[in-house]
C-alpha cells in the first residue's frame, strides 16, 4: 500500500469539491427545502400520517437516500471520467500505485462528499420537521454503506463511460427512476398488491426501507433483508472493481 499516493488522490479530489463548496453545499440545502415546501407543507398537509409518522418526517430518510445515491454516483463517475477525458489519466497509470489505491482515493473522496451532503440534508430537515432517530448506529452504518457502495458503482460507470452522454445515462435512466419508485416518498403498503410485488424487484426499496427503519422503527421489509441487500450490492461492486483491476478494462491498453 502507498498511503502517500492515496492521500494525494483523495486530497486532490476533495479539492475539487471545496473549489465549488458553496455550490456543493447550497444545492442540497435548497433542493431539500423545496421538497419540504412542496411535499411537506403543500401536499403533505393533506396527508395524515404514514405508518404512524407525520408525512414530513416520513420522507426525510428517502430524501437523504435519494441525494446520497445520486451524489455518490455522480461524484465518483465524474471524478474518474474527468482524467480520462482530459488525458491526465496517463499520470495515474504511470505512477507506482495499484488500481485498488486509485479506487480508495477516488471512490473514497466521492463517498466522503456524499456523506457530507447526506449530513447537510439531515440538518436542513431538522429545521422543518421533528426528527427522531431510534437507531442512530444503524442509521450511520446504512448511510456509510450506501455512500461507499454507490461511490464504487459510480467509479465503475466512470471507467465504463466513453463520453459524457454515457456518464449521465445510468444515473438518469436507471438510478433516478428506481429511487423514485423505491418508496422515497411513500410506503410500499400504500400500493396495490400487484405493484407491491413488482416493487420488491427494485433493490432501492430495501435500502430506503432499512434506512427508514433506523429512524422510525417501521419498515416495508425486515431490516436484516435490507442489510443483506446493501451488503450484496457492495459485494457486486467490489467484484466488478476487482475484475476491472485484473483485466485493465477500458483503462490500460
Amino acid at each position: 500500500m502507498n498511503p502517500t499516493a492515496i492521500k494525494a488522490m483523495y486530497v486532490s479530489e476533495m479539492a475539487r469539491f471545496f473549489r465549488t463548496f458553496m455550490q456543493s453545499f447550497l444545492s442540497p440545502v435548497i433542493s431539500t427545502s423545496l421538497y419540504f415546501v412542496v411535499f411537506g407543507a403543500a401536499i403533505g398537509s393533506r396527508i395524515d400520517e404514514v405508518e404512524g409518522v407525520s408525512y414530513g418526517s416520513f420522507i426525510v430518510p428517502g430524501l437523504i437516500m435519494l441525494s446520497v445515491m445520486t451524489q455518490g454516483i455522480s461524484n465518483a463517475s465524474f471524478g474518474i471520467y474527468f482524467p480520462k477525458f482530459t488525458g491526465t489519466i496517463y499520470e495515474l497509470l504511470s505512477a507506482p500505485v495499484s488500481f485498488i489505491e486509485v479506487v480508495i482515493g477516488f471512490a473514497g473522496a466521492a463517498a466522503t462528499k456524499a456523506l457530507f451532503i447526506g449530513a447537510v440534508i439531515l440538518a436542513t430537515s431538522a429545521l422543518f420537521v421533528d426528527l427522531q432517530i431510534q437507531h442512530p448506529l444503524v442509521m450511520v452504518l446504512f448511510l456509510l454503506l450506501t455512500c461507499i457502495s454507490f461511490a464504487l458503482f459510480g467509479f465503475i460507470i466512470g471507467i465504463w463511460a466513453k463520453n459524457f452522454e454515457q456518464l449521465q445515462l445510468i444515473p438518469l435512466l436507471v438510478v433516478t427512476p428506481l429511487v423514485f419508485l423505491g418508496g422515497s416518498f411513500y410506503s410500499i403498503n400504500m400500493l396495490p398488491p400487484v405493484w407491491q410485488a413488482i416493487t420488491m424487484f427494485n433493490p432501492v426499496v430495501y435500502l430506503i426501507s432499512g434506512f427508514r427503519w433506523s429512524f422510525f422503527g417501521v419498515a416495508d421489509v425486515p431490516i436484516i433483508t435490507s442489510l443483506l441487500a446493501i451488503g450484496l450490492f457492495q459485494a457486486l461492486c467490489l467484484i466488478a472493481v476487482w475484475w476491472i483491476f485484473k483485466t485493465g478494462w477500458r483503462i490500460r491498453k
Partner: protein, 311 residues
C-alpha cells in the same frame, strides 16, 4: 557506465490486431541522452508507454534500475518520469498544486523546497499560483516537465517535447534537457525533428515500423553513414570534365562554375590531396572550396527507405 534501463524482446500487439512493436531490444546507459527517431506511427510512443506502464506489453521483459517493470512496478515506476506528447493537464488546478499532487502520487512526502527549485529552474515560479488554463502552450509543457520531475526520477521520458512548438521555445526546451542531463538524469526523447536529436543526443536509435533499425553513438553514426561533399568553385567555367579527372566521379554544378566531389566522411583516404593536385595539373584555377556533411535527416531518410526496400 551501467545500464539503467534494459528492454528485451518487447512486443506489443493492440486489441485491433495491429502490432506496434516487434521484439525491441534496447538499453539506456546511466546519464546519457538517447534520442529515438522515427516517422509518425513508427512505434515510438508505444515503446515509451510500455516502459512507463500506460500500455501493457504483449511480450518481453523491461528492467528499470534493476527492477522488473511488471512484477516490481512500484520500484520500477518510482524511477521514471514521463512527459507525454499531448498536453494533458487538469485546466482548473493551480501550478503548485498539480506539481505537488504528482509528487504525492509517486509516494514521496511533501517537499516544497524541492518543488520550488524545479519551478524556478523551469521559469515557472512566478506562475505557481496561476491556474493551468491561464498559461501559454510553452508554459503548460514546462508544467508537464515539472510534474514529471517532481518525484526526483532517475530516468525522464520526453515524448516529442517540441512537437508543434515555435523555434524559441524549442531552443528553451533543449536548454532544459541539457540542464537535466547535467544534473545526472538519464533521458529518452522521441522526436521526428532530426536536428533535435543531432543537437542533444549522445546516442540515436531509429525506429521504423515497430523495429529498432539501429542504435548507435551519434558521432559514430554520422561518420559511418555520413557522406561529405567538397564543392570546388572555379575561376573560369568548364563545359566538360577533363579526361584526367574522370576517375573521381565529379559532377558539374552551377553551370560549369563549380565541381562537386563526394566522399566518405569516415574514410581513412579521402582522395582530396590527389584530386587537388590533379586539378592543378589539368590547369584549372580554383576560386573557393567548401565542404558539407550530410545531415542526420538525410541519413535517416536513407535508412528508412533502405529498410522499406528490404521489407
Amino acid at each position: 557506465m551501467t545500464d539503467i534501463l534494459i528492454l528485451e524482446g518487447v512486443e506489443k500487439t493492440y486489441d485491433s490486431g495491429f502490432t506496434a512493436l516487434h521484439g525491441v531490444d534496447l538499453t539506456l546507459r546511466e546519464g546519457e541522452i538517447l534520442a529515438l527517431l522515427g516517422p509518425n506511427g513508427a512505434g515510438k510512443t508505444t515503446l515509451i508507454s510500455c516502459i512507463c506502464g500506460t500500455v501493457m506489453p504483449t511480450r518481453g521483459k523491461i528492467t528499470v534500475g534493476g527492477f522488473d517493470a511488471l512484477t516490481d512496478y512500484r520500484r520500477a515506476r518510482s524511477l521514471i518520469g514521463l512527459v507525454p506528447q499531448e498536453i494533458h493537464l487538469e485546466p482548473f488546478s493551480r501550478v503548485m498544486d498539480t506539481v505537488r499532487y504528482s509528487r504525492g502520487l509517486f509516494g514521496k512526502g511533501r517537499n516544497d523546497a524541492y518543488i520550488e527549485k524545479i519551478l524556478r529552474d523551469l521559469s515557472l515560479w512566478d506562475k505557481r499560483d496561476s491556474r493551468v488554463m491561464e498559461l501559454s502552450g510553452g508554459m503548460k509543457r514546462r508544467v508537464l516537465i515539472a510534474k514529471a520531475l517532481s518525484h526526483e526520477p532517475r530516468i525522464l521520458f520526453l515524448d516529442e517535447p517540441t512537437a508543434g512548438v515555435d523555434v524559441d521555445l524549442r531552443k528553451e526546451m533543449w536548454e532544459v534537457v541539457a540542464n537535466l542531463k547535467a544534473a545526472g538524469v538519464s533521458i529518452v526523447l522521441t522526436t521526428h525533428y532530426i536536428e533535435e536529436a543531432e543537437a542533444m543526443a549522445d546516442r540515436i536509435g531509429v525506429i521504423n515500423r515497430g523495429r529498432l533499425a539501429l542504435i548507435e553513438e551519434k558521432a559514430a553514426l554520422m561518420s559511418r553513414l555520413g557522406r561529405k561533399t567538397l564543392k570546388i568553385e572555379l575561376e573560369t567555367p568548364v563545359a566538360v570534365i577533363p579526361d584526367a579527372l574522370t576517375s573521381y566521379g565529379l559532377q558539374i554544378a552551377d553551370g560549369g562554375n563549380a565541381l562537386v566531389y563526394e566522399y566518405e566522411a569516415g574514410a581513412s583516404r579521402t582522395g582530396i590531396t590527389r584530386l587537388l593536385s590533379d586539378l592543378r595539373d589539368a590547369g584549372l584555377c580554383l576560386s573557393d572550396l567548401s565542404t558539407r556533411q550530410s545531415t542526420l535527416e538525410e541519413i535517416f531518410v536513407g535508412l528508412v527507405h533502405q529498410q522499406e526496400e528490404n521489407a
